[in-house]
Symmetry: D2
Subunit: 341 residues, 4 copies
């Protein structure tokens, strides 16, 4: 079985360690060949018990390690650009956790570097495209059974925000998932953003504008609204309703068990994205491994990562100015022609 | 407006007082003309503030009071037979709370008395026939869209049983509603009963067999199962699923508000039958008033009251013997020809 | 029973005839004493079979008819102002279908006339305040269990729009219900409106901007969004989700029967507001009759009717300009102090 | 990566081919080392494209093939016994599709053979134990939050039955899943069975008793009822409601997408068990591979396979006699002490 895909994982923190476990135990056809983290103790712990893995402090050393044929980037966001360029220099296929690069200027540099290679190496980690419910919704929209989509109503709620989470990050970090999901579901680009500020919850940290209500306009005139509320207290809840000309379809209220007790019927709401989207992460990585072993690149690419950054930046400007803000995108290189459906 | 229907209400206890309020304030076309209760203080309190009402200790005095044109019987079950015969003697239309008469022998005497009159005067208080959900289900079954019904799965749950509630009363009192509902929904008679005894809940009073699982066979071979659980703790829950040849239909899980908080999405379950079936009671009484003012009798009649008693008695025998017990019914008088749909 | 409330009904069209039936057959404590409609044939037809009713071509003649003690206005919107002033001149309590007066200037004249009387005579026909689900939601919000409300997400969908329905009427007619419901649920005034225009459905009449997405800001900073879509094709659907600091609550997805057949589980969606809100109409009118017989006025009043008109007018301006538009209200007369909860 | 578990798959039919695909593409840590099927063309087709696999006509040849360290039995039911004994003779761990052996006498022989080995080699393919909803329900029951379970209401519906499906097979084949699930959920043995026969659907093949209603009593007095309906027409639907002392919990109505169109809100019902339980099959096989690589055996074992056969046989006798039939089990060998939770 010499053809197992040897993967170098950059970053052994929360999600990095989870991805190492996933590659080792869940995904077929791949093995963890190298792990890099400046905190080598953490890297060693994440790699413990995996046969034939090497551990490194430097990302580039991991890329050059024996048996490495692909790269998974789960390092802190600011390290993504350098890691991507290093992978491109070696011709290694990459699965890069979102955001591709935190700022759109950096994302554009990455994009152009890949475009110069003349072939795609990058899959960006928008794992909602691999969630069963989102795929079901997209399949329905693509079928045309409900006519054209006119509006998307989205909800993105977290139990509580981590320390240091800023008002801008509700748009740039949380809503970036909805940016990609909306583009993918609709096959349309986002053209303008408005951010409204309802009164803030008393349970949000002082000064944090939470919740926010974000409005996206698309190239085809579809209106996308997103409630983002990162201190909602009760659970991790991601919903999407597509309102079309001949019907509407809703995902995200799915339940698996109804418990009737103490005067009410109750469905559990997951508390965490790793729970809600566990299967999507599994499927995403399996899809990447399968495609990579066949020499192909599928799924959201560098262009999608760049657009998400650019729209999020416009969103942050809209939040700060209080005004509708148009989105300006660079010309799309030939390599990324066509909206990825 | 001299044609408001003057009603004598017999019994001013829990449900009697509620019906007096209903006739006075909710139902149009009727007025409370007389109230009878051996506890005249209770009768006076229930009649307080109603114009033109007389209060009596004796039921017959109320029937003879000025302005009385119809009778509502809400007195204790053992008093029903005498009250019904007194109403018949005066030719007064009657709405009689269930059970018509607690034992089937007495119910049969009442039935034969009405049959001798040669016209129907009696509506029996099976108010589920007036519940919007049950009507929706019956209308669907009658439409034939789902083919013939093969099974009914029923649930009848109460928060807790009142003092003095016996194992036999789970069948004779609680399940009597399902007996009538099944006959009405299916248009079939019940032919045999079996009662199974799951282990009892630790929250049921000592010695009470609760829950029970009751199986009815019908004349057309439809199987009806009823979970009756009168100390379920969490609410008053009545459900019915009709399994048909071409689909199934379920009522009783209907919700009106979903609250998401504290890690779950929750729907309230009503705690009481007066809450769950408030509209059914209103509609039942309005239907009775409307029909009576037009000189008609509609809805479940004395025959239905008799059958419910007879089936319940067979059920109690089945509970006690542990065996399947067949149901024997008297010949149906011509007056009650045809199953009431 | 001389104290049945004699009601003059102005207007015997679609909703007028339905209200006449409701007063005659559903609501207790009232009777239809007079009916007025310029089309007296229509008035006679609606009044047929009602004892002691008189029929008139002129509204004022009906107000002066024998036995009239209260007025129900169901005439065309432009006739409301004159009818209200005529009722005030006679000191008659009024239940006036929404809108109170179509334009806010007229509504203000009516309001000031009632204020000069020094007592309230008017209940405005915002019947959602009487809907069981809305009341359940309001009761939950008032309890404080979920903390302060931060956002309301509303949906208002109709199967199809009637002939002559204009883009402005989506705001001024359809959304006026949400305007009142939001004010009532929140106990807050609306301070600004923005109307967004998603691409229009191919199934909407040519030129009609349908759907629209309307945003209301309130005095306390709560954000209210309303999807209004009057040619959605599939049903009449009214939903409201209140997002609060400690949880969210949603109404309008309530179902009563689930049918599983042909590869799916299906719940019916009502096709018409008279079906969806039948009970609310019943309860509204009963509440009005009960209060009127006791010499009281409850429920939404002339102030609420005026505010709804003023907000709707701002909404139409926002639709036309494409900009956020602030709402300017007249000073509230002492008579209407306090938000009506 | 020499430690990938080499698996011999016996049987390359419908489910065998699906399991070969699963082992090859979905499950990590394993590879298909050999495939056996009397129809070697079919075996070759199922093995096509898999590196290092050998194809055989005889099961024993596959067990002896190079690289085989474990066996997956997906051959026709009557071949199971011989295959199991051959695996035991070689000390190979086995995952055996249900039924372990179709008749309880044969199952007992297998069981005793394994007991003589003194260690467990067998996992039986009751994959519901690996379904996320069933696990959620079991976890809730085990937590004790709802008190002791009193009843299980189960539904097992198929779109249509395959050719040759007999009345006895509704019990012995379809309901065998509920037999194992009930034992596992409750931690109790089944002690008696009764089978009731509602009238049959006109859409069932002539002579087939479909639906049936099966009642199981357990060692602790819990009552389990199962509606089995294999020609329900609308979908594959598996539900389970556990009624406990302090609440009830229901699985199997879970939905992921609600589509509102054409007058109703609709959730899809899967048409096939491979769709409904795809994840459970994946998880089952992964669990087996993981345990086997670690030299352990987990999950349902030969004892569970034997008991399911014995209970199903009693069920068939109950169906044929029309009477309650007690279940007699052989003494449980020490190796299988304790109910497997």
């Amino acid at each position: 079985m010499g053809d197992l895909l040897g993967v170098a994982v950059l970053g052994a923190g929360h999600i990095g360690a989870d991805h190492i476990r996933r590659l080792d135990q869940v995904v077929s056809g791949a093995r963890v060949a190298a792990v890099a983290d400046p905190d080598t103790a953490r890297a060693k712990e994440a790699a413990a018990g995996i046969e034939g893995v090497s551990v490194h402090a430097e990302a580039e050393a991991a890329l050059d390690a024996a048996g490495v044929a692909a790269v998974l980037i789960a390092s802190p966001d600011p390290a993504h650009e350098e890691a991507l360029l290093a992978a491109y220099a070696r011709g290694l296929p990459v699965l890069c956790e979102k955001p591709l690069v935190p700022d759109s200027a950096g994302a554009l540099r990455v994009l152009e570097a890949e475009a110069r290679l003349g072939r795609r190496l990058t899959q960006t980690g928008f794992m909602r495209r691999y969630d069963a419910e989102y795929r079901q919704l997209k399949s329905l929209l693509d079928s045309g059974r409900l006519g054209r989509p006119l509006m998307l109503h989205c909800t993105h709620r977290n139990v509580s925000s981590p320390p240091g989470f800023t008002s801008a990050m509700l748009v740039s970090s949380s809503v970036s998932h909805e940016i990609d999901a909306a583009r993918w579901l609709l096959g349309q680009e986002v053209t303008a953003v408005t951010v409204l500020r309802p009164r803030s919850s008393a349970y949000a940290p002082a000064g944090l504008l939470d919740p926010q209500f974000v409005l996206f306009e698309t190239s085809a005139g579809t209106l996308v609204d997103v409630e983002v509320f990162v201190n909602c207290g009760f659970g991790y809840q991601v919903r999407c309703e597509a309102v079309c000309e001949a019907g509407s379809a809703r995902i995200g209220d799915g339940h698996t068990m109804v418990v009737t007790a103490e005067g009410g019927a109750r469905e559990e709401v997951p508390q965490d994205y790793l729970v809600r989207f566990a299967d999507a992460y599994d499927r995403e990585m399996q899809a990447w491994v399968d495609a990579t072993r066949q020499g192909r690149v599928t799924g959201p690419g560098a262009w999608d990562g760049y657009v998400a950054s650019a729209v999020a930046e416009a969103g942050v400007r809209a939040l700060e100015s209080g005004h509708r803000t148009t989105v300006e995108l660079a010309a799309r290189p030939e390599l990324y022609a066509g909206v990825d459906r």
